[in-house]
């Protein structure tokens, strides 16, 4: 499974719509491995979802995200877990063990935080 996490200062970037860099993580039974990063600086709103799809991303873990953007991404078969904050590695670990509902991963001022039922474990 390929995870995409927009990153800023080592943490989940506050807004996917405006983020400049997305980190990619390969998650399988052997653990988590970095699959590189891609720049999305200057990409327009309609270019971001196709880019994720083209990269083969299965799940996007992100902070805030625009409503249209989220719908566009979901319509391309990419799962979105939004409203997250925290160090990128911690967020990925929490995602794997289903702990993203913890308050420390909640980005302030975002409705519809991932909640306690974020997909856990390796799929």
């Amino acid at each position: 499974m390929l995870l995409a996490v927009p990153e800023f200062h080592g943490r989940v970037a506050p807004t996917f719509d405006f983020c400049h860099r997305v980190t990619l993580w390969r998650v399988d039974e052997r653990g988590v491995r970095s699959a590189g990063q891609r720049t999305c600086r200057g990409l327009g709103p309609s270019e971001r979802a196709p880019k994720l799809q083209a990269m083969g991303v299965d799940v996007l873990l992100c902070g805030a995200i625009g409503k249209d953007m989220e719908e566009d991404i979901r319509s391309r078969g990419v799962d979105v877990v939004q409203g997250l904050t925290g160090e990128v590695m911690e967020v990925i670990s929490a995602y794997r063990c289903g702990a993203l509902g913890e308050p420390r991963f909640k980005l302030p001022g975002v409705d519809g935080h991932a909640g306690p039922c974020a997909p856990g474990g390796v799929r």
């Binding site: 506050p14 807004t15 600086r41 995200i65």
Partner: protein, 526 residues
Amino acid sequence: MNRASLGAAMDQHAGCRSGEARRKPHSPSLALVPCPLNPTTSPPLAALVLPLYPVLESVHNATMTEKALPSRESARERKAGLAWDRGLRTILDSINDGVFTVDSEFKVTSFNRAAATITGTSEEEAVGRPCWEVFKADICEGSCALKRTLATGRPVINQSVRILNSKAQKVPISVSTALLKDAKGHVVGGVETFRDLSLVEDLRRQVEKRFAFQDMLSAHHKMREIFELLPQVAESDCTVLITGESGTGKELMARALHHLSPRASGPLVVVNCGALPDALLESELFGYRAGAFTDAKRDKLGRLSAAQGGTLFLDEVGDVSPAMQVRLLRVLQEKTFEPLGSNRTLHADVRFLAATNKNLLAEVRAGRFREDLYYRLNVVQIAIPPLRDRREDISLLAMHVLDKLNHLRGRDIQGFTPEAMRCLLRYPWPGNIRELENSVEHAFILCRQGLVLPEHLPAAVCAESGPPAPGEAPLGAGNLREMESAHMLSVLDRHKGNRSAAARELGIHKTTLWRRLRKGTPPHPS
């Protein structure tokens, strides 16, 4: 917070030179500022919030140093201080602009009620967080206004920004920033004020809608008169001559006339008379029978036949040869024609519209255009003024084109910086709207995000040194030091406040850059 230090932040903000606000730090007054329609020309947000900087410093420092009040301060002073802080808090919470302060690590230290409303983040959630996690603006990762202010010491005034609110909606705002200093003049953080521009944006759309007619857009009084007249002209079946320079939108006008006319369900056929040689124009217009000339193997319907029941638009009619003018005159007069090689007369159930960028009357006087054809075409004349004569349309059209491109290409370029808009307003636009459209598209391609800067526009548009707009100081006004300083600041801006990169581009050491910038700073009002 020490109130004596408030002057520094206030003076730096918005280039405040009067020092008046500094002399009255304890009596902040809320001036009502008219809500501007165009964010690029809006009066600085500072006009509203400038008197509040003492308040902000006080609140910020009350938050930061509450526990560190000197022990020798009397209980009475403490009580008075607390009452003062409560008062400040009330004032901050009573204004409609969002205000927040950050410490030197960009962690939020205070957050007023309007900030909470606009961002959808409560004060409890915001305080102590990195400002980018609270603000969620498009500039946070690339060109943070607060970061620039803290790096350069210069305030940012009314920068257009978009944030994502708690309902996952993009909200247009304008931000202004300034430094916060302590009693000793040390920078302790920054303050950002922001105004929700959703209403302004809505109003802009409404204005655009109000000034739109069919596919045309204009706020100019002559164009408004034409728009008012157009439905009546369209209703009649008379021939209309549309005049105007190249690129003014003559074809759009013709399309509007057709769509408003009773023939709207019929075809609109366009013939560019200037683009076709005489013989070809004749066969294109009237059609031909098989055998009419070499290679005429089958019958071909002309544009006149194709336009039956609709409208025929003769573009560049002033370029038609004298021989062709005679044939055109006959069609216009008698509404009949014969295809080439045919002796059968056909009836033309067509409404004629014609356009030219030439002065047809002068052409008539010079003997190059038939007088009878001129009067036949000129039943109703619509003269479209050139863009240079309707400057009020430039910003309207430029924003309209930008919106259209954003929509078509799925991008989010927000508008033009005041400097870029000034370039557009000064340029004489010899190619009229067509040239404006091309220039905006050029800028759209070069601008990757945020606002269009002057360097994104074609060089000719920015290089043109036309007369300044009324009330505008000419570019280059001021002394050499100010010009040098302005240039350095623009380079610094381009490098997002990175002094090393800016110095590299300027070919000077970064300390030289810093020193010269400090020298170039306008003198302190006191």
